[in-house]
């Protein structure tokens, strides 16, 4: 199993979720995060003074998936979250040692 961690632009969340649903991924966990990278944050101006907002709001998806479909999930996220503009984000893949569904105690692929 893999744990796929994707950092994407917030307004792409709904699209990505739907695209993943279409290929059979029904569960995921989402967090609001702040990204630092090439893309710079907005400048805000209050009473004439500039405030450089150093972070850019991003959304992070954590998705545990079976090894079989990991590549397809990565591709799907890539295709859907892509806007060809700087700051589109990253997809990281980690090996998952084990997984368990709390409600049933099932583990492995059953748990996802």
């Amino acid at each position: 199993m893999k744990l796929i961690m994707a950092i994407i632009k917030p307004f792409k969340l709904d699209d990505v979720r739907e695209a993943l649903g279409a290929i059979g991924v029904e569960g995921m966990t989402v967090s609001e995060v702040k990204g630092y990278g090439r893309q710079k944050g907005q400048t805000e101006i209050y009473r004439g003074a500039e405030y450089q907002v150093k972070f850019v709001p991003k959304v992070r998806l954590d998705i545990a998936v079976d090894d079989d479909i990991a590549d397809r999930v990565v591709e799907t996220i890539r295709d859907t979250a892509n806007t060809d503009k700087i700051g589109d984000g990253k997809i990281f893949v980690l090996d998952l040692a084990s997984a368990m569904r709390i409600r049933t105690g099932e583990s492995g692929n059953e748990a996802l």
Binding site: E44, Y46, R47, G48, A49
Partner: protein
């Protein structure tokens, strides 16, 4: 003796406005005018509302989220402290008859409201009503100074500074201008507090900002206002309350009050639009915080003139206030790098001084104003206004500095760096602003 009213009335009479419709028919000597009393009771509530919660919100929205409660606390505690001190001595110093020293202060005859009962009058108002109305001015003035020192001051210092400042700066200056003191004798024009309120608060603010030093990270790296909507709510409440501030300063429910709120409102609206346009042109976007700051600048600037000038003058006041206060903010923060954090001097100090000086101009009937006091001309009035500004600013600066030194010695001024990083909400008050 109510010199302020008398001074003001005489200005009107002298300028040929004696035909003001007599609304005061009910008030014989020592009698109470119910209509005026109704309006000043209302105005008192409106002016209290300006500080609690108006100004508190206006300032609270501009700081970091972990300092919002400390700003609200400053305003609330100042309101409480000043109220008690106003009863104990402040009112007497400001509005008592100081005997031989009456040019300078009002003495302590009226301390604890000695001799004032339900049927004591001040002009055609119950004296208790006049006492309360003036108290709300005494509350907001030191509360304005809160904008100079947020995010880094010790709470004890706020209390000690405020107490001394009220008795040693605000009350005497009020006596000079409105209580029959030396500036009143010279016919200085300050309808609702350009000198008494805004010039004193602004001057004290910049002195205090210099003594205290800048916030960590200033100017390049301070946090943006945590809640501009809160600031707008506060500004809106200040605007509404200002009807009581300037309209109530007529001390009657009459055409003078009506004209005062008219010019006040027009100046606020014009200054807000002006500031908005300046930002739009210079920075590409008109901001909410800029626009509401402009409104406050317009209100502060017209305050000293609000009983003397007409609607067209108010338009001019608004434009000037919007531009000049905008420049003042940039100058003090960006050029001079003084961390008068919420721009008290740039908005209130500059506005109050500007409005006091311009009053000599725009009171002229030729410019739609309602004229000068007996024997006064535009030139002689302007001279008096300059004397008023210079003496009030100088006195305030010097005495404020002494008070700051005393406060530093007794209570300490500034929080530790760790407390500043943590925010004053937790470090000084043990509370957090938001648990959402």
């Amino acid at each position: 003796m109510l010199r302020r009213l008398i001074a003001f009335r005489s200005v009107l009479l002298a300028s040929g406005l004696a035909v003001l419709t007599p609304t005061l028919a009910l008030a014989q000597d020592g009698g109470v005018n119910g209509a005026n009393t109704a309006w000043i009771l209302t105005a008192t509530a409106l002016v209290l509302f300006m500080t609690l919660p108006g100004l508190a919100l206006f300032y609270g929205g501009l700081v970091r989220s972990n300092n919002v409660l400390s700003v609200l606390m400053h305003c609330f505690a100042i309101a409480c402290l000043v109220s008690v001190l106003w009863l104990v001595a402040g009112y007497s110093i400001a509005f008592g008859s100081g005997g031989a020293l009456n040019q300078w202060w009002g003495g302590l005859d009226k301390a604890m409201l000695a001799g004032v009962g339900m049927d004591t009058t001040s002009g055609d108002l119950p004296e208790s009503v006049f006492f309360m109305f003036q108290m709300t001015f005494a509350i907001i003035t030191p509360a304005l100074i809160v904008g100079a020192y947020p995010e880094r001051i010790k709470f004890g210092a706020v209390l000690l500074f405020t107490a001394l400042w009220l008795l040693l700066v605000y009350a005497p200056v009020t006596h000079w201008v409105w209580g029959g003191g030396w500036l009143a004798d010279r016919n200085v024009m300050d309808f609702a507090g350009g000198l008494v309120v805004h010039a004193t608060a602004g001057t004290a603010a910049i002195v205090l900002a210099l003594a205290l030093g800048a916030r960590k990270g200033f100017p390049g790296d301070v946090s943006p206002p945590h809640n501009p909507g809160m600031t707008m709510i506060g500004a809106a409440m200040l605007w509404v309350g200002w009807y009581g501030f300037n309209g109530g300063s007529a001390l009657a429910a009459d055409g003078a009050a009506g004209m005062a709120i008219t010019v006040t409102h027009i100046s606020a609206a014009t200054a807000a639009l002006t500031w908005m346009l300046v930002e739009w042109i210079k920075l590409g976007k008109p901001s909410l915080i800029g626009t509401v700051t402009g409104a406050i600048a317009g209100l502060a600037t017209i305050t000293p003139a609000s009983g003397f000038i007409g609607p067209v003058g108010a338009l001019a006041y608004g434009i000037v206030a919007g531009i000049v206060c905008y420049i003042a903010v940039q100058l003090i923060k960006q050029k001079l790098k003084i961390d008068d954090s919420l721009d008290v001097f740039a908005v209130h100090g500059v506005g109050g001084i500007l409005g006091t000086l311009l009053a000599a101009l725009f009171a002229s009937p030729a410019l739609g104003g309602f004229g000068y006091g007996e024997g006064m001309t535009m030139t002689s009035q302007f001279t008096v206004q300059v004397i008023g500004v210079v003496s009030v600013v100088a006195y305030t600066a010097i005495v404020s500095l002494i008070i700051i030194k005393v406060t530093q010695a007794v209570a300490g001024l500034r929080s530790s760096e760790e407390e500043e990083t943590m925010g004053l909400d937790l470090s000084e008050h043990g509370e957090r602003g938001y648990s959402l």
